[in-house]
Symmetry: C2
Subunit: 223 residues, 2 copies
């Protein structure tokens, strides 16, 4: 629609769509703002009425995708919860969803997962990290994660999952069989959770996780 019309209608999201397609085709930097504009059928400068710069467009795409991913993770957790509401099963589903996405759409994942592209004041909802945190809470509530191990546990599991996703998206590690990716992901989640659960028994005598207080980047308070 809006073919040949002077006013486009929804240029902003049309540009985001074009940018997403271009990222998929040629990566984050393999295309120009001018090309995205041309693809939408609009002059290069038109984009500047919706985005302050090319970089802003890319960031906006990153945020849009991140929110989409958060929703996807949440849904996949819910869907996996089918029988018995096993929190560990839900976390494995989350991990599989996260990792398989980064493998199926590596170019977009490379863009999104290096969060430098995410504005600090953007309110992404639901943020993938928040989904993971909520699932860990669920695990702790179910008694499968001792209280001392719960503190900061999200950073351990997040690091492991994020690391696997990034390694795959960047092509630093490859699995011959797609099924192997699922197994590896499952193993990473299981191993990490096992390690976390066992932490309490080893913790006596060392500073414990409490002093490793961490904070996520501020993502609150939309401008």
């Amino acid at each position: 629609m809006a073919k040949g019309r002077y006013h486009h209608g929804d240029l902003r999201s049309a540009l985001l769509d074009a940018a997403e397609a271009l990222v998929r085709e040629r990566g984050t930097d393999g295309w120009s703002l001018r090309e995205a504009s041309a693809r939408v059928g609009v002059s290069p400068s038109a984009a500047y009425h919706h985005f302050a710069s090319r970089d802003t467009l890319v960031r906006a795409l990153s945020e849009r995708t991140l929110a989409w991913l958060g929703e996807r993770l949440r849904q996949d957790c819910e869907h996996a919860s089918g029988q018995g509401d096993d929190p560990q099963r839900r976390l494995i589903a989350l991990g599989r969803s996260y990792v398989s996405w980064s493998l199926d759409d590596p170019a977009v994942a490379r863009l999104v997962l290096r969060g430098g592209a995410t504005a600090p004041d953007s309110a992404i909802s639901p943020h993938p990290h928040d989904v993971l945190t909520a699932e860990l809470d669920r695990l702790a509530d179910a008694g499968a994660l001792p209280e001392p191990a719960r503190e900061g546990a999200e950073f351990v599991l997040w690091a492991a999952l994020h690391g696997l996703a990034v390694l795959l998206a960047d092509g630093l590690v490859r699995f011959d069989d797609p099924r192997a990716v699922e197994l590896q992901t499952e193993r990473v989640v299981r191993t990490t959770l096992n390690g976390l659960a066992q932490e309490a028994s080893h913790a006596a005598g060392r500073p414990a996780g409490r002093s490793a207080h961490t904070e996520r980047l501020a993502r609150r308070s939309r401008g």
Copy 2:
């Protein structure tokens, strides 16, 4: 040296140095080949006698740094091995070195850790991944890692460490206290190793890690 001379002497590594400094100042893309050339005191086209393109220069810098990092990791393992040659202590040292580097030099780390910048046929030696693998072998030899858990364990630990390093370099996670980073890194290594060691007892009945056969990207056979 070579000030004002027509022939520079060692332009290739001078360009790499300039590129490294520029990456540190303004990130991977915040500078131009022309600026790097100018900084070295040479015309823009001179660079093309040493690098096929800007991208090639960046990749070369990435490889140089990766090899440097591998050497650093190896040395830090050796250094930590002081008393008793405890393999776990060595792995913790490796993790701390890896992570603290990515936090101390985040711009360069961002460039290096996303291996897309690494040519597939480059022979990086010693490659950080190989160092980690060797240390896990050492752990297994010491009997601290059951045989079935050893298989593919490097991908679990690598994912966790790499994930933490990347999250920090990208600023997706921040710790208020530098000491907290060390503790968190130690926790990630310990937790992962604990989880791995405990794997055998849980493994009965599931496919186990054997079918999750993995392979690193080919980095052998220099052109």
